[in-house]
Amino acid sequence: MSESEMTLGAGQATAFEPSPYGVQSKKLTMWLFIASDAVTFGAILFGYAYLRAGTPDWPTPFQFSPSIVNGLIMTLVLLTSSLTMLAAVAAAKQGRKSSALLWISATIVLGIIFATLHLREWFHMFAEGWSLSKNPLGGTVMFGATFFSITGLHLMHVISGVIALIVIAIGYNTEWLDAGHVETTGLYWHFVDLVWMFVFPLLYLMNVAR
């Protein structure tokens, strides 16, 4: 049965064409959002690369420990959260409600751990004198501006994802939302993970003191 038939009933559904992409409208909407968000992150990363390429005294402040070690732990946490999200989607599709809720909860916890590690790193950098417009090492101030902007935008996506997952968990538990909603939110969560795959090497690994 098509989505339009489920919504309107078989009689009225004949007036509508089937989805050309074979996915629910909410999933297609999420894909379109992801495409536009990918371009947003692409633009902000290009902006960072532009400034870096045009600045001879670009600082490389990160030491392997603690900055890169912390970044690696954050990467491990985020990648693992994608795995728990996949388990949640698989369980929701199979109608295993308690299992799905357990895996969604695990994803939420991992998201909170990621955000906490990120904020801890930020406050450590603030204590060293870094800010959007300050560079304690001397030279260009654009490092702080780009670093906090890009990681801040990503962190905002993680926090939004955690909030969305909490809403989805509550809705799915009360049967107000279905497995399709869990899958669509999972798509968003994997995208947040995908963006980090560019943020970590470009902002952390490329700025290690060598």
Binding site: M1, S2, E3, M6, S19, P20, Y21, G22, V23, Q24, K27, L28, W31, L32, I34, A35, A38, V39, G42, A43, F46, A49, Y50, L51, A53, G54, T55, P56, F64, I68, L72, T75, L76, L79, T80, S82, L83, L86, A87, A90, G180, L187, H190, F191, D193, L194, M197, F198, F200, P201, L202, L205, M206, V208, R210
Partner: protein, 102 residues
């Protein structure tokens, strides 16, 4: 309701997850090597795109959707990102035109 094919099982997902972690390990290892900044950037970008491709196709299930979804979204995003490359001449002009600090 949808035409989505069945994707990999959890065992395959765990294998992919391990593979992604290995790529992150390679990226970090390359950072500790004494290679030029340009080569390091090129290597990290290639590995990041490989990671992103794996995540997109398997974690985000794009491989198992109708091909037209892939062909609608991916070339569009790549085209827009490609067009952003017009900034480079200006970035290098900015570098060369900088007034030296006395």
């Amino acid at each position: 309701m949808t035409d989505t094919k069945n994707g990999p099982g959890m065992k395959e997902y765990i294998a992919i997850w391990v593979g992604l972690l290995c790529i992150v390990g390679i990226e970090t290892f390359l950072t500790t090597m004494h290679i030029s900044t340009h080569r390091l950037l090129a290597a990290l970008l290639v590995l990041a795109f490989v990671e992103a491709g794996i995540a997109l196709l398997f974690f985000m299930h794009l491989k198992y959707e109708r091909p037209r979804l892939f062909w609608t979204l991916v070339p569009l995003v790549i085209f827009v990102l490609f067009m952003m490359n017009h900034i480079w001449p200006d970035a290098y002009r900015m570098l060369n035109m900088r007034v030296p600090i006395q």
